[in-house]
């Protein structure tokens, strides 16, 4: 009979090279994956036109001029000492708001350094005043 003469080929899919294929794909994704996460200082901006009255004694003004010199409550201070001073001030008054005011030509670098110092003092109430131009 004709039916009996039919060839009996193996009906299985060869899986010996499966590992190789998977490895190849794995290496491709390993190489293209970038694990570097963005890091930075997070802040929430206030809504537009939402000015709240704050008691004057709860505000500490931080003024930064164009040369990167900082005044904290009318006293000049080195940037590296802000964290320590801010921590002391927060102990005296936990409701203290730090109001950071920069000059229009102040470098962003200095502003971030000051913000970092305030974050190190665990200050959560930070206000950023608009520079006068």
């Amino acid at each position: 009979m004709f039916l009996d003469k039919r060839k009996k080929g193996s009906a299985e899919i060869p899986t010996s090279s499966l590992a190789d294929i998977a490895f190849l794909l794995l290496i491709f994704f390993l190489v293209t994956t970038t694990i570097d996460t963005d890091k930075g200082i997070s802040l929430v901006l206030p809504d537009l036109g939402k000015a709240t009255e704050v008691n004057k004694k709860n505000i500490a003004n931080l003024l930064i001029n164009a040369n990167g010199n900082v005044l904290l409550k009318e006293e000049p201070i080195a940037i590296k000492q802000i964290a320590e001073r801010a921590r002391q001030m927060l102990q005296e008054n936990p409701r203290l708001i730090f109001s950071v005011k920069t000059d229009a030509t102040t470098k962003y670098d200095v502003f971030i350094a000051v913000l970092d110092q305030l974050k190190r003092a665990s200050a959560s109430r930070i206000s950023i005043a608009e520079p006068e131009s």
């Binding site: 899986t15 499966l18 590992a19 998977a22 490895f23 794909l25 794995l26 994704f29 390993l30 293209t32 994956t33 970038t34 996460t37 963005d38 890091k39 930075g40 200082i41 997070s42 802040l43 929430v44 901006l45 206030p46 809504d47 537009l48 920069t102 000059d103 229009a104 030509t105 102040t106 470098k107 962003y108 670098d109 502003f111 971030i112 350094a113 913000l115 970092d116 974050k119 190190r120 950023i128 608009e130 520079p131 131009s133």
Partner: protein, 140 residues
């Protein structure tokens, strides 16, 4: 002789489950891979110590500003006034609504520019108010 009583344990590593392991790794990397969509501008980020990691890259809008005063979103050079409509559109995106705005600003940019960008974000309101000043990790 005593030598002959030594038991013969097979010392090959079983490789039958290797494809499974490899596939598992493969699927992990496939899922976690986010292809770089934009290259942005050439900026030198400022450094800070007390920094937080961004939750992810998918729902973040990145605004670049370099020292020569150029501003870019998604590889397109734009003017400051264009930030508001673009960010507003991103906040309304149905698939991936923006949750955070990352500011990648060069350390030599003047604060007047930074404030101008922030003012644009404030006019958008709600989700655009969550910002992150992108920085490097400081060593001191």
């Amino acid at each position: 002789m005593k030598f002959k009583t030594k038991s013969k344990v097979s010392c090959g590593i079983p490789t039958a489950s290797m494809p499974d392991i490899v596939f598992m790794l493969l699927i992990f990397f496939m899922v976690s891979t986010v292809f770089k969509e934009s290259n942005g501008l050439n900026v030198v980020l400022p450094a800070a110590k007390r920094i937080e990691k961004l939750p992810g890259k998918r729902d973040v809008a990145v605004i670049w500003a370099d020292r020569s005063g150029r501003i870019s979103i998604d590889d397109k050079l734009i003017q400051i006034a264009d930030i508001e409509p673009i960010i507003r559109a991103k906040a309304r995106d149905e698939l991936h609504p923006m949750k955070l705005v990352s500011l990648r600003i060069d350390k030599d940019v003047e604060m007047s520019k930074v404030t101008a960008i922030q003012q644009q974000l404030r006019t958008v309101g709600s989700t655009a108010l969550n910002i992150n000043y992108s920085t490097k990790t400081a060593v001191d």
